[in-house]
């Protein structure tokens, strides 16, 4: 089951997602990147039905880019979150997207922020959030260890604690995770946490 979680620290926001692409009992691949870089200072960590996930996040990414081209300035994180919610809400009663999203961003004026957007378009600004079966472990761990203004090292230690807990306590635990960070210097990949590596394919 897909696990996505994230938290806000001192001047940054971090999101982590598992990296298995699963179809019923088969694991297609274990290095699927579910955290999309929306623009220079935004990350979208999405979980849910894989087709909807890719289609919807790419749609949001292209529309956010279009806004920047048309208006010359990028959207704020709050605006991007509200746009995403609006698209999910409009589609909800016609052709719903089964995608849960954690949108992390950094704005110069307001600093880092994290938005919880559920598949039925419930939007809420949070300090820590999680989706999936992993959330039952992560949210409690984060409630215990999180405090506002954490440093990157403290936040990564907490993320690692959550990953360890998911690996040891979830019956169909995803083995690999990707961690991405967004701060004043932009959105970028921070690390992978792999316990199962794909074997290298020999060249023809």
């Amino acid at each position: 089951m897909e696990c996505v979680f994230g938290l806000v620290g001192n001047g940054f926001a971090i999101v982590a997602a598992d990296t298995s692409a699963v179809h019923s009992i088969l694991v297609h691949k274990s290095n699927e990147d579910k955290i999309m870089v929306l623009d220079s200072h935004k990350l979208v960590a999405a979980s849910g039905e894989s087709g909807d996930r890719v289609q919807f996040t790419e749609y949001i990414q292209k529309n956010v880019a279009l806004y920047q081209f048309r208006n010359g300035i990028p959207l704020t994180t709050a605006a991007a979150a509200n746009f995403t919610r609006g698209e999910l809400a409009t589609a909800l009663r016609k052709n719903p997207y089964f995608v849960n999203i954690l949108l992390a961003g950094y704005d110069k004026e307001t600093g880092p922020s994290l938005y919880y957007i559920d598949y039925i378009a419930t939007l809420h600004k949070v300090d820590k959030g999680a989706f999936g079966y992993g959330s039952y472990f992560c949210l409690s761990l984060m409630d215990r260890h999180y405090h506002s203004g954490m440093t990157v090292d403290e936040a990564i230690a907490l993320v690692d604690k959550c990953i360890m807990e998911i690996r040891s306590r979830l019956v169909v635990a995803p083995p690999n995770f990707v961690i991405k960070i967004v701060d004043k210097d932009g959105a970028r990949e921070y690390a992978w946490r792999e316990s199962v590596k794909d074997t290298a394919v020999p060249a023809a």
């Binding site: 809400a89 919880y116 039925i120 378009a121 419930t122 939007l123 809420h124 949070v126």
Partner: protein, 204 residues
């Protein structure tokens, strides 16, 4: 589980002497899981009119955006704020438009009329208005709220006493409901000022 109980909510509005109070709980949940403890259910439409929306959070957010849009248009055309009775009729009409595919919300409307006379009303998810002279309730804790308000309510309470009454009624009712709680948010509105207070209750 009913769709109205998906997120969990508790709302109450009470009439005092030339004033009213509107209060809500602060929990945002997804069935058994608590996502946030600072969710805003009550919004200001204008200085003398407040709207609380219980039920499904995504529909509450969509409905709030539609109502603010309609009220802003009204303000532009009429060059004045909407009366509470008029606003209640607007909400009722908007809800009935979706009679066969409704918004899963129960609104609570509270405002001060032209002569500073307090007005409260609630309606069901398809817009059946329920005007009351004393108090109105909505949400998953509504049955407990009916009992608590009926026993604690007195006519013509001053703002301070009204605040105490509404707070006690809210906190004691949400303590019997697992889907609502995690504190309270109370607005006491008189012709001259709006007092917003956060209550700390049982944080479970």
């Amino acid at each position: 589980m009913s769709i109205f109980e998906y997120n969990g909510s508790a709302l109450v509005a009470m009439v005092g002497k030339n004033c009213f109070a509107i209060a809500s709980d602060r929990r945002l949940g997804v069935q058994l899981q608590t996502i946030a403890t600072d969710f805003q259910r009550i919004s200001k439409i204008h200085d003398r009119l407040f709207l609380g929306l219980s039920g499904l959070a995504t529909d509450a957010q969509t409905l709030y955006q539609k109502l603010v849009f309609r009220h802003k248009l009204y303000q532009l055309r009429e060059e004045r704020d909407m009366k509470p009775e008029t606003f209640a009729s607007l909400v009722s009409a908007l809800l009935y438009e979706k009679r066969f595919g409704p918004f899963f919300c129960q609104p609570v409307i509270a405002g001060l009329g032209d002569d500073d006379k307090p007005f409260i009303c609630t309606m069901d998810s398809i817009g059946a208005k329920e005007l009351a002279k004393d108090f109105v309730v909505a949400g998953t804790a509504s049955e407990s709220l009916y009992g608590a308000c009926e026993s604690m309510f007195k006519e013509n309470m001053e703002p301070e006493e009204l605040f105490e009454t509404v707070s006690q009624a809210l906190l004691s009712s949400v303590d019997r409901d697992c889907l609502s709680g995690w504190g309270g948010h109370v607005y006491v509105v008189t012709p001259t000022e709006v007092k917003e207070r956060i209550l700390k209750g049982r944080m479970d």
